[in-house]
Symmetry: C2
Subunit: 156 residues, 2 copies
C-alpha cells in the first residue's frame, strides 16, 4: 500500500552529531516518511521543531540536492544571506555544492513542521559553517571530524 | 536566495503525452519548484488538480523513486489496490520498479494540490497500466511508444 501510515512511523529525536553539538538539537524530531514507504534514492523526512529548536547546525552539502516545504507554523531560514521568514507553503532549495550554510530555526511560540527531501549518494561531504566540523560519508561509513580531518572528541 | 519565489515560477499546463492521451490531462497544472531553485537530482513539483482532473495516466517507474504529499484539498489515490482517499498531510511513496500503476485523481468539488518528488536518472522506463503505452528516456531522448516499441500515432 503506497499510502504511508504516518502514525506507525517511529519518531526520531536527537541527532547523530558528536557532543557538544548534539546538545544543541533539543526540540527537533522527525519522521522518516520516505524510508517508511520503501524509498532508497532520496530521504523524505517530516521535521518537527518545538519553539526554539533548529533543523540542524548550519551546513551545506557538496554532492546532494536538498529541498524543503513548510507544512505547519512559521519558522526562519538562516543562511549566508541573513534571515528569511518562512510560512506554510514556502519552499527552499539548496543545490549540491552551493557553499551557503543554512538551517531552519523555529523562532515562533508554536510548533513548526517542514518536509525535507535530500538525495542519497554513494559518497557525500558536508561542511558546518559556524563550527569546526565536517562530515564524510563513503564506503568506510559516516564520520564527523574537524575540518582538518582530526577527531572532534578529546581535542579540547 | 534559496527561498523559491513561487509567484514567478511559470505555470505548466497540459502534458507531454501523445494524442489521444494528452486530451485526458485537462485541469492539471504544475509548478516546477525544484528546477526554479536550481536542483537537478530530483524533480520537486507542485501539482494542482481542478475538480475531475488527474495527476497523470496510471503508470509506474522502473528506475525512479517517487513521493507525494497532499498540501491542499482532498483527492484519491488510484492504484492496483483500488481507491484510497487522501487529505492534507497524507503521503504516498512509490519505490522504483514496483509495478503498481498509480495516479491521483481529484474527485472533490474543490481544487486539490500535492507536492511530488521524483528522482532524475540517466535512463528511465515507465509503463502505463491501463493503455498500450510506455515511455523511455535515455541518451536518445524521451519517447512514448506502444509497449512493443512501435509508434503510437498513426497506428489506429
Amino acid at each position: 500500500m503506497p499510502k504511508i501510515d504516518i502514525a506507525s512511523v517511529p519518531l526520531k529525536t536527537g541527532s547523530t552529531y558528536p557532543e557538544p553539538y548534539n546538545a544543541e538539537m533539543e526540540g527537533r524530531s522527525s519522521l522518516k516518511l520516505g524510508d517508511a514507504g520503501g524509498l532508497t534514492q532520496f530521504g523524505a523526512n517530516l521535521v518537527m521543531l518545538a519553539p526554539g529548536a533548529k533543523s540542524s547546525l548550519r551546513h551545506y552539502h557538496m554532492e546532494q540536492d536538498e529541498f524543503a516545504m513548510v507544512t505547519q507554523g512559521t519558522c526562519t531560514l538562516i543562511d549566508d544571506h541573513g534571515e528569511t521568514p518562512l510560512s506554510v507553503g514556502d519552499c527552499v532549495a539548496w543545490p549540491a555544492g552551493d557553499a551557503n550554510g543554512h538551517h531552519i530555526v523555529n523562532t515562533s511560540p508554536e510548533e513548526a513542521r517542514f518536509l525535507v527531501i535530500g538525495t542519497r549518494t554513494p559518497t557525500e561531504t558536508g561542511y558546518y559553517s559556524d563550527i569546526d566540523m565536517m562530515v564524510k560519508d563513503d564506503a568506510k561509513g559516516f564520520a564527523f571530524t574537524r575540518k582538518d580531518g582530526t577527531p572532534i572528541e578529546g581535542n579540547d
